[in-house]
Symmetry: C2
Subunit: 387 residues, 2 copies
């Protein structure tokens, strides 16, 4: 149902005079070509000083008289002087920018991690160039190549799902651009990584399902190419083994399409194997697809089937039923990865694999894994809204 224009639209698109604008007592015309902003040289001319002197005065350098400093800074403020970022960057070989390469930003884990990164970047006076790979190897390689040569002083990366090899990162790293992998890491490059205890966390999650009575636990994963996925899968397998269960390859569902495709794949799996009584999703996206699939098939959570998944969804508790999660400290992961990166940028020392960190995930038990399993495959569809 699209909101129509039935109600009078009270002119949200307005026309402004747009000639002169008076704000804070200054009158600046809206003109093109640009009112070329003032340069250091112009500022110096205006003051009757050499640009080198002005430069030092502005950065409070030594060997400048207090009086000159005062004059220079006053004039700079008056003319709204701002140093040209690229010029000083070129001169100093410093961009004051870090690159952040992530599969996507519309995902709680990544957006929280970016928040953590931003905190540290801001503390250090740095900007973030954010590059999205959309889980494509080609885009990742392309983006990474563009990050060479002066655009950034360091890079934080979480690998694309279909990453085949970190060759493009090697180029960065070999040129002295420090690199920190976080969450979706590569084990082929000798640099620092920040990860979660994926193996342990997956083990605990699976163990939780098994000890809640599940016998047939399926594992939903995004892509088998990443070491992170493998760690989680290994934790899953180890927990099965500890309960005397052997791995059933038929219970492994690898899907990395759209949400709808994932939901469809899960439905197919659940129909082919009606004995499945537990789902462990290795990503939050898959956990929600699992919910959707169960809802559409009329499988009641947690009575018919229990669900747990890695997720950073704040509102897991408002879902029907509340979703049990393995929650990664996404903000802290971003923050620590950034701290490692800045330690390398500032000290101009390379990052070592030995500086890698592992932060613990938290297992939060909620409604979706509660109660003992009742094998009643004919439960009615979940009806939560009151029609």
């Amino acid at each position: 149902m699209l909101v129509s224009q039935a109600i009078p639209n009270l002119g949200s698109v307005q026309v402004y005079p747009g000639f002169l604008l008076s704000l804070q007592g200054s009158f600046l015309p809206f003109s093109f070509p640009p009112v070329s902003s003032v340069t250091l040289k112009q500022l110096a001319q205006q003051l009757g000083l050499a640009s080198s002197t002005v430069s030092r005065a502005l950065r409070n350098g030594a060997d400048i008289s207090a009086e000159t400093k005062r004059r220079v800074q006053a004039m700079a403020a008056e003319l709204h002087y701002q140093p040209h970022a690229y010029a000083s960057g070129l001169r100093n070989q410093l961009s004051h920018t870090i690159g952040v390469v992530v599969p996507e930003v519309n995902d709680r884990f990544f957006s929280l991690a970016i928040d953590g990164i931003e905190e540290v970047a801001r503390q250090n006076g740095y900007h973030m160039l954010i590059c999205l790979t959309h889980d494509s190897y080609d885009l990742e390689a392309q983006v990474t190549r563009q990050l060479t040569r002066g655009r950034v002083d360091g890079v934080l990366i979480s690998l694309a799902g279909e990453t085949q090899g970190p060759a493009h990162f090697e180029q960065l790293s070999s040129r002295g651009v420090p690199l920190v992998f976080f969450d979706r890491v590569s084990d082929a490059l000798g640099t620092a990584t920040v990860t979660t205890n994926d193996f342990d966390a997956a083990y605990q999650a699976t163990e939780h399902l098994l000890s809640s009575g599940c016998r047939r636990v399926a594992y939903l994963l995004m892509s088998g190419k990443l070491s992170i996925g493998n760690q989680r899968q290994r934790g899953y397998e180890a927990a099965l083994g500890a309960h005397g269960l052997s791995l059933d390859p038929d219970l492994l569902l690898e899907s990395s399409g759209s949400n709808d495709e994932n939901t469809a794949a899960i439905k197919t799996l659940l129909q082919r194997r009606p004995d499945i009584d537990g789902l462990f999703a290795s990503t939050g996206r898959l956990a929600l697809s699992a919910y959707q699939a169960c809802q559409e098939l009329g499988r009641v959570i947690p009575q018919d089937i229990k669900v747990i998944g890695f997720s950073n969804l704040e509102i897991a508790s408002l879902l029907a039923p509340p979703l049990s999660t393995v929650t990664q400290p996404a903000y802290e992961i971003g923050r620590e990865a950034a701290r490692l990166l800045f330690s390398a940028i500032i000290e101009k020392k390379p990052l070592l694999a030995t500086q890698s960190m592992e932060l613990p995930a938290e297992l939060i038990v909620r409604g979706s894994t509660m109660g003992s399993p009742v094998v009643s495959k004919t439960a009615p569809a979940q009806q939560l809204a009151t029609p």
Copy 2:
């Protein structure tokens, strides 16, 4: 419950040889100080040509023999030559970067908008510098000042909640940096904006609550300083008027604290005014706080009280009950704002207020506003999980 280290950690922190790395047939040492990446001049020397020639050959300029072009490009590829972004940027007065200034990234609306912006930026060969204001006027002003002078060729902005005046943007705009506001716009600057039909959408949402039987509809808003908030509030008021109801200022809740603070404020409101039978949240965050508050007070949605809110939450349908929403086309808003910006960047023409766009929001009715209201204030707490 923190996952412990009870299970043997299978060495997720590893030590790599780290001396030489052989990939794709090239051997590059991991060394610091950096293997200074190859410059145009070095490339030219290597080829026995002048750097100007090489420059033209690389950019396929005219007046270069096919043979020279071939040689140059072959050598460039072999040495992994990449032009220095800041050097060419300085020379051409182009950064090939746009600034994106948003309150936060961990929010569906903004992360979707960023996806839309990124699509257009990538098509144009541009990067995104993302700056977070955390809804702080000071941060916004600071960040904006840093965006002047060559760092970006244009800026997309959604204002901070506590924005007091767009003086800092005027500086950008007056220097010829094109500017597009999206969603949270300012009406004080004569540039293009991309918004939703906030008035209409809010009218429809309120109207929906009223025609579903609600008599006391409270309005939850983040901040009264933004024109966007006012538009929504005006839509709310207009709908009340159309139903012969007058505005009760006691039913306006302005809160912009943490989620917990918002929840607490809503609880207080609901306790003070038990006659409230409808909640209209002007942001997704407030809608979720409303859910939380109702859950904690044992008010059953939609029987005791109906809830609707602006939201881009994909999983609104998985909430208990599914949340009725007014959903903005966030991706499209970002995309259109970026398109406007690039039209200005490419044609080097200023943006006019007359180019502003308004995209329609969609009203999606789900469980939280269904059924006729039953005034039963003593309903038990919502219990959805089976313990």
